[in-house]
Symmetry: C2
Subunit: 173 residues, 2 copies
Amino acid sequence: MKLTPTVQRCILHWGEMASRWGVSRSVAQIHALLFLAPQPLTADEIAESLSVARSNVSVSLKELQSWDLVSVTHVLGDRRDYFQARKDIWEVLAMIMDGRKKREIDPTVQTLRECVAEGKRDHETPEEVKERIASMLEFIEEVSGWYEQIRSMPRPTLLKLMRMGTKVAKVIG
Amino acid sequence: MKLTPTVQRCILHWGEMASRWGVSRSVAQIHALLFLAPQPLTADEIAESLSVARSNVSVSLKELQSWDLVSVTHVLGDRRDYFQARKDIWEVLAMIMDGRKKREIDPTVQTLRECVAEGKRDHETPEEVKERIASMLEFIEEVSGWYEQIRSMPRPTLLKLMRMGTKVAKVIG
DNA sequence: TTTAAATTTCAGTCTTTCCTGAAATCACGG
DNA sequence: CCGTGATTTCAGGAAAGACTGAAATTTAAA
């Protein structure tokens, strides 16, 4: 399947951004392709469109599925898997944030908790340093908690809030 | 300068997280070290504490300075540069977000705008795809705009808002 | 079953990024 | 303006990560 120059450009840019965020280029490009694609695609179509190895597509799709960004569908009378991406951008963002929280933030909170606990019986680390570690933990926990709350809000409410911008500040006085 | 096990653990964990976010391990470790350090450190002290090459420290410090996370100070009668990191975690987060917005989000908006413009005279890309690109652009612009607003709020207001959590929703009814 | 298509695994290779150490440059006191 | 110590630059090496292609496995139709 041949990509139009406009689509190519989006996919290429997406791939470049990805590497800056610790995501492999293939994964990002495949995600971009599926996000833009009007219909679900087979792994072979993806491999051909992006000129990457079929096996790479397989691994990358597994990765995208683990992030809940891509799912599999089937076509009657066709054994091949067809892949489609979430199309709702808000959902996409939520999936990515949930994933990063689970994979990076939560383990960091865990480690910091252990460091703080360790600090209790550690007499070589200066108090000031221990306090900074503790306040870092507190900070991450606070932001995490806020994220959970935001996450639980119905989308229209969140949108309304966002669109109020700084005006919410006036309401809460 | 010898690091205590607790401090080492924090620095090591920070370094590991960094690579998942597209930041080099050295940069992250140096940042962690300076963030925890009670006093400013010289480049040599940093190199020794973390067992990395002096030149690596130099480059990494430049990187951290470009993010406005680290600054230079001097000690009377000492020619060497002393480095210190921002200690206010909220400020640290703000610097990182500002930096990523400037380096990744803004160029992405630029590219998407060009893609949308290109789409006007492009007749091979399906309408549906063009629309998805346009809505992606709109989405990023909306979130960016919201970020700018939040960014302009005084910290106490932001904190109050955050701590209200889902309760703000009730206020705006 | 058997067979063939579809998919996945994985060892090896390639790329990219990071880091080092030597040399160059800079900065300041004498 | 020379010399010493501090800092930076940069070419090359090392490490990490990504990608490929062949072989193995799975799947389902015949």
